[in-house]
């Protein structure tokens, strides 16, 4: 297993959270006696490695790990089978099928099945077990996993379907998971005095949070005294523009070009073998480079390599004290890390050297600038002719729609038709979903709010210095992510730091409340009266920023940059439903009906 970050070095000692998740997992495994097989949903097995190493599973009787399928089970040599899956209808059907088939082909096997749903069991899943006639064979339970720590300042629920469910399907069940995880977080670290939020989903989470606190009554997390001062809830829908843009930080670009999955990335070695590289703060070189603009990464790596080299030379020339040598040895230890990152940066460089990448970034810039609409539409069309990646094309189309209050009529159908012609007609379902989600719609009267937001939040910054940035806009080379600009404004003073008229430009309600207790000691919320809670204070405040629907690495970089500025007297912890980029966000909207339609296409 690769090195883990030091979870406890952040403002919240997140190691505690990880310990709790591990304890829950062990309890679950120990609930079945003897040796057992663990069958995992692929969407669970990915992050399970962040919580528990294989040796831990072995210690608790797991003989074998399998991926979920509907094929019957062979002779496993054990009696106990534990399923650990996301609560989805598809998963329940697979499990029912597998159990039925196994019972049919090996009637005397006498296997015992336990199914644990993540994060909670649902009636729909249990109905499927009933209908398929396997309900009696199963012990069903829950694995109430909350936030998974990805780094000392980063938490994710890894619920990849949350955005699609919330925005395209009107299914809000994932919000319960968000609220429960936040309640658990506050139970561990103390309640936040202030709760701020923007957006429909944020408002729904706020209601759930109040209800959960009231249900707990006097047991509710005590407000004040704990490290968390404030929680800011933001809907991804409030800022859908940012994920559509290409992230230009080191970590962001690695994610854009090679996809970071569960905190690591796989690249091809020069020798041809796949190499898995863990990307977290345990790697001190990566820690220093991850949030820099990619343009600054190459020179930085070169400098480090050179300084070690020159140190090496001088060490030969002069006698050194023991402590100096020790220091030098420590530096040498970083050398493999530096080499690894030179390899990774080269791989990124190769990917972004393609002319298509330059076109993509320049179309983005002109759409964000707000001019060259016709030229942009034409470039997008040309990219489709050249068979560029469908999701890159869709990101640009969504960006065009979002920055212009919809796609102008003359391009709307033409561009969509081109998608169908170039990539296949089955994507008409995806186009409909994008329309339902409000990401790709027709312009109807007016150019939308983007221009006004751009002015109000100063989203575009000229003359960004990539190497020594002074503004968060460096993460997109001149565009400041709206989400982080909102946080920047909100932490400066009371309220949101911008006028009502500006907040009205964004979708959904805005709120700012104080979590407190009434005179009987029962939890209530009330409007913020004590301005000391949100105003500028001497104390460095700890703020948990929750992105409902996903967050990009570039936004996390911007938040880290913000906290490094002397004028921001805050430390941030980022929490989200899923670590995303525009491509993975749009891919999550491709639903089963398209996969099904794709399978028709091949007959």
């Amino acid at each position: 297993m690769s090195a883990l970050p030091d979870y406890n070095e952040g403002p919240l000692s997140l190691g505690q959270l990880r310990e709790e998740a591990r304890r829950l997992l062990i309890e679950l495994l120990d609930s079945r006696r003897g040796k057992k097989v663990l069958i995992l949903d692929p969407r669970v097995s990915g992050f399970l490695g962040l919580l528990a190493e294989v040796s831990l599973l072995k210690e608790h009787g797991i003989e074998q790990l399998l991926h979920l399928s509907s094929e019957p089970l062979g002779d496993l040599g054990v009696r106990n089978v534990i399923y650990l899956v996301r609560a989805s209808i598809n998963n329940a059907q697979h499990i029912a099928q597998q159990i039925k088939e196994t019972n049919r082909t090996r009637p005397g096997a006498g296997l015992e099945y336990a199914v644990y749903f993540l994060p909670r069991r649902t009636i729909a899943c249990e109905r499927i077990f009933e209908e398929e006639g396997v309900y009696g064979d199963i012990v069903a339970g829950e694995f109430p996993l909350g936030f998974i720590p990805f780094d000392y300042d980063l938490l994710s629920l890894e619920q990849g379907s949350a955005f699609r469910e919330l925005v395209a399907e009107g299914d809000r069940s994932s919000l319960y998971g968000v609220a429960r995880a936040l309640t658990r977080l506050q139970a561990l670290y103390g309640g936040a005095a202030v709760l701020k939020g923007k957006g429909t989903m944020a408002a729904a989470v706020r209601l759930l949070l109040v209800r959960m606190r009231q249900e707990l009554g006097r047991e509710a997390p005590v407000v004040g005294g704990g490290p968390i001062d404030e929680i800011i809830l933001l809907d991804r829908e409030v800022d859908a523009v940012t994920p559509m843009c290409t992230q230009l930080t080191y970590e962001g670009l690695v994610d854009e070009t090679m996809q970071i999955k569960n905190g690591s990335v796989s690249i091809d070695n020069p020798s041809g073998a796949r190499q898995k590289i863990a990307l977290n703060s345990a790697d001190k070189v990566f820690r220093d480079l991850r949030d820099l603009s990619f343009a600054a990464v190459g020179p930085q790596l070169g400098q480090r390599a050179k300084s070690i080299q020159s140190d090496y030379k001088t060490s030969k020339a002069a006698e050194r004290s023991l402590s100096e040598l020790k220091e030098f040895a420590a530096q040498l230890k970083a050398l493999p890390n530096i080499q690894r990152h030179i390899g990774l940066a080269e791989a990124v460089n190769r990917a972004i050297a393609a002319p298509a990448f330059r076109t993509r970034v320049s179309v983005e810039q002109s759409l964000l600038d707000g001019h060259g609409l016709d030229a942009s539409a034409e470039s997008i069309e040309e990219m489709m002719c050249n068979e560029e990646d469908l999701f890159v094309v869709l990101r640009l189309m969504c960006l065009l729609s979002l920055t212009n209050g919809g796609v102008p009529k003359k391009y709307f159908d033409a561009l969509r038709k081109e998608v169908l012609h170039s990539y296949g007609h089955e994507y008409m379902l995806l186009l409909s979903k994008l329309q339902d989600a409000g990401l790709l719609v027709k312009q109807e009267g007016g150019k939308g709010n983007y221009a006004a937001l751009k002015r109000a939040f100063r989203l575009l910054v000229d003359d960004v210095d990539d190497k020594t940035p002074t503004d968060i806009a460096y993460v997109f080379s001149g565009y400041a992510p709206l989400s982080v600009r909102m946080v920047e404004a909100a932490v400066k003073g009371p309220g949101w730091g911008v006028g009502e008229d500006v907040l009205r430009l964004l979708p959904g309600p805005t709120f700012e409340v104080e979590q407190t207790t009434d005179d009987k000691g029962l939890p209530i919320e009330k409007p913020v009266q004590d301005r000391k809670l949100t105003g500028i204070s001497k104390k460095r405040r700890v703020i948990v920023v929750v992105f409902i629907g996903g967050v990009t690495f570039a936004e996390i970089a911007a938040l880290r940059f913000l906290e490094s500025r002397p004028e921001t007297n805050c430390t941030f912890v980022t929490a989200t439903t899923k670590l995303i980029n525009g491509t993975s966000l749009l891919e999550s909207i491709v639903d089963d009906s398209i996969t099904a339609a794709n399978s028709v296409a091949v007959i």
Partner: protein, 135 residues
């Protein structure tokens, strides 16, 4: 919502038939069924005001699949059904069937620029230098 169901049904039936049997007959009927369902979906979309694009797209998809079935029967080459329109054109050019390619181009109203670009790239990719010269 009935529209979605029709499309999903087309997918379901298609998949069921495809896995059922590798023989030529059932696959043929399954393909015909998909076309019928796509036409039906198009009709259903056309009943609402907002789904003009989807109605046209479903009808066009049905038309494409009919053409692909025809091409497979004509060439005896099962290399068309399920391709996108652009890939169908590429396949025609690759197989040297320029007459059909020209027909697809007019049938589906493909712009000149788009068509020539696609044809040129396909010929170049196939290293068909004679074809390129005759361009």
């Amino acid at each position: 919502m009935r529209v979605r169901e029709a499309l999903a049904a087309s997918a379901r039936i298609g998949r069921a038939r495809a896995t059922a049997d590798g023989a030529a007959r059932p696959a043929d009927t399954a393909a015909a069924e998909v076309v019928r369902l796509l036409d039906r979906a198009s009709d259903l979309y056309a009943q609402t005001k907002e789904h003009g694009f989807q109605a046209r797209a479903a009808a066009e998809w049905a038309r494409l699949r009919r053409l692909q079935a025809e091409l497979e029967a004509e060439t005896g080459n099962a290399a068309f059904l399920g391709l996108s329109l652009a890939d169908t054109l590429r396949q025609c050019v690759r197989l040297g069937n320029h007459r059909v390619a020209a027909r697809v181009r007019t049938d589906f109203k493909i712009s000149d620029r788009r068509f020539w670009w696609l044809k040129m790239k396909t010929l170049a990719a196939a290293k068909d230098w004679e074809g390129l010269e005759a361009f």
